[in-house]
Symmetry: C2
Subunit: 444 residues, 2 copies
Amino acid sequence: MKTVIIGGIAGGLSAASQIKREDHGAQVVVLEKSGDVSYAACGMPYNLFYKDKPVEDLYAMSLEAIRKERGIDYRLHNEVVTIDPLRKEVTVVDHQLSREYRESYDYLVYATGNQPNRLTLPGFDDADVFYFKTLDDTRLVKSIIYEKSPSNVILIGSGYTNLELVDVLYNMKIKPVILEKSATILPSFAEEIRAKVLEKLEEKGIKLHTNVDITEKQGSVVRTTTRDFEAGMVVVSIGVRPNTALFSSAGGELGVGGAVKVDRFLRTNLPDVFAAGDCAEHYVRQLGRNGYMPLGPVANKQGRLAGSNIVNSNAMKEFYGIDQTAVFKFFDLTVATSGLSERQLQENGANYVKVYVDTSTRGAFPGGGTMRVLLLFEEGTGLLLGGQMIGQDVVAKRLDVLATGIYKQMTVFELAELDLSYSPLYSPVWDPLLIAANKAIKYV
Amino acid sequence: MKTVIIGGIAGGLSAASQIKREDHGAQVVVLEKSGDVSYAACGMPYNLFYKDKPVEDLYAMSLEAIRKERGIDYRLHNEVVTIDPLRKEVTVVDHQLSREYRESYDYLVYATGNQPNRLTLPGFDDADVFYFKTLDDTRLVKSIIYEKSPSNVILIGSGYTNLELVDVLYNMKIKPVILEKSATILPSFAEEIRAKVLEKLEEKGIKLHTNVDITEKQGSVVRTTTRDFEAGMVVVSIGVRPNTALFSSAGGELGVGGAVKVDRFLRTNLPDVFAAGDCAEHYVRQLGRNGYMPLGPVANKQGRLAGSNIVNSNAMKEFYGIDQTAVFKFFDLTVATSGLSERQLQENGANYVKVYVDTSTRGAFPGGGTMRVLLLFEEGTGLLLGGQMIGQDVVAKRLDVLATGIYKQMTVFELAELDLSYSPLYSPVWDPLLIAANKAIKYV
């Protein structure tokens, strides 16, 4: 059995590794068009901080280990240019050897990831405009930072990635200014969480301009309909779109958000072609349908399942889905969410209640801080629908309790009965989650 | 309606506060025999470290706030000496005014806590032998440490409290030696977790002697059947027993571990007498019966429920119980458990499987470490029965995911499907819990 995998970063390498894990004799060819093996993309902002830490430290493993330890035929600089689903083969350009060749497959995994949306305005193709998406982007940004020492930066867009960059660059003494087209930031968070992020921006003296309509860039000046901004570098992060051109050219069907349409087994409409990761749809458990939420863990999980389903084609398993859990760091704050957002609840016409509490994170002991916990739950039943948290100390892994509760369809009454770990070094005697739940049950 | 509460620390103050919260006009008298209001007992070891931090910093709130803000008639140095369940009154000695008086009640909450087991061997009544249980004990130990600067300490017993003290005292340059009667330490932990604690003791050069049979203490020398030990101070922590003398003298019935027998509503056999906290039994959900596990959170929860049931005597709620969750810090390690222990599983003849994994806690980023996750689950079904973790970084609040899963009767298959928060600053892309679950499903 021979599997060809297009794209070798998160989903692709996971699929390849799983096939070899379950069927040692299987032939697996990974065709990766860049010069980088699988890497931890979410770690890129933090690598900038360390001048002497090569970006290659973000590699999941070395090319040699992928080849020798895992037995995968992993080829860098090999770009697939067409898929022929009838002949079951792909055409590949090897950019290093400057040759084109064909590779046949029994199974194909499409794992091409996504790409940043680009600003198609005058001047935004300049060399000092960056899309912080790949390891190559990271190399470029890092070289600018350490070679040109810019004193300030314009960040266009205010999603997770740019907020993480704001944090990192500010701490590197590169003053950030954020330009956002919308009226607000972080639309998937409730305003009570968002408010804390805005407070932090203000505390740090970082300017956020919303409702900004950019017109062009001229040299170091970004012009908008109302005023000009100037900075030594510009980072644009205004959303992503799945890489699907190759797939759709071959007759592949697209779905939510223009991503590769997959069934619960991660099969596409093309025979024996699976898709995984940032190029594909992701099943959202609470909605009971596919959505599009490109994040590292889901890419890894989907890749692993696609690989497993290829090996076990007579006993395939459904992808169990996601609960839209996400987290990012913002200065001393951790910001995290799981489950449905308020916006999604409104879109679905849900009868929901929102409560939040502000609490300390661990009594009066060093290392503690404060935390806001926000719960979204169904009116009448108390079914937990979503949870968001922001604060110092342990937020991310406390949020996981809510993610677990959402997965298990827990009510706020049940949440209030949890026996959570307590020592004053880790928690107040009533954990913030219990305090929030005890408030919530009064409003069911 | 008048409620008298005997004992005003965790369960007692919680009950009092809840009554006033739900029925502002209710009369609540708290009779506390010591001179201290409710305090965070679990914080006592860590207070030792700070010479200038008064132990009163551990108070949950001030006497004035309890009286004025909460409207509770809280009386210090007032010891109840008899309960008359027929006349529904208690006899009280006010040690400050040296007078005895009677106080009638409609409802009584018995919340007297527990006391340390004592070593009844020659020499162990000396002034340099400490039982680290109350705020007064903490004052004594603290005065010895800062006035006499002992260079070493003998800790008798190796439970959580003594291990926390080992950590604190070692860091204060007071060299600890541990003497343990049993063959092993931490019997409620699996040997794979225990091994990590033992490794840490060895790494720090701290001597643990097991199977030790102490015969007497003479001056600074503790004699055993095999050899002598010498130290500037001795701390004994060999278990606790519930304070029940007053209750049983009044005809009260005792249950598991000699604690006050309570039904699910926290009622005792005496009419209109409830019990809560360290003096009472605690319902263990997984066993479906009462056990005895005196910890801060359960005392607070039981106190709150007892108070609520007194106010709502026609619509009482059952105590939802505990899952035996516990955590303690030991140097750079956090050690945590939830659910049934291996010993309990064996005692109950359960068909269980045990797996564990060693993982990193957050990829290659600063602040991470390693962690051992151990899962206990039912053979055949994969039902999660218990979870234990030890490691650096965020252990306590990760353990809470297992506590949540145990509460919701989750299987290891479900655990593997959780959508846990990921950013390289907080977790590897496969969270340690997912890695453990993915291993576990192979052994169901």
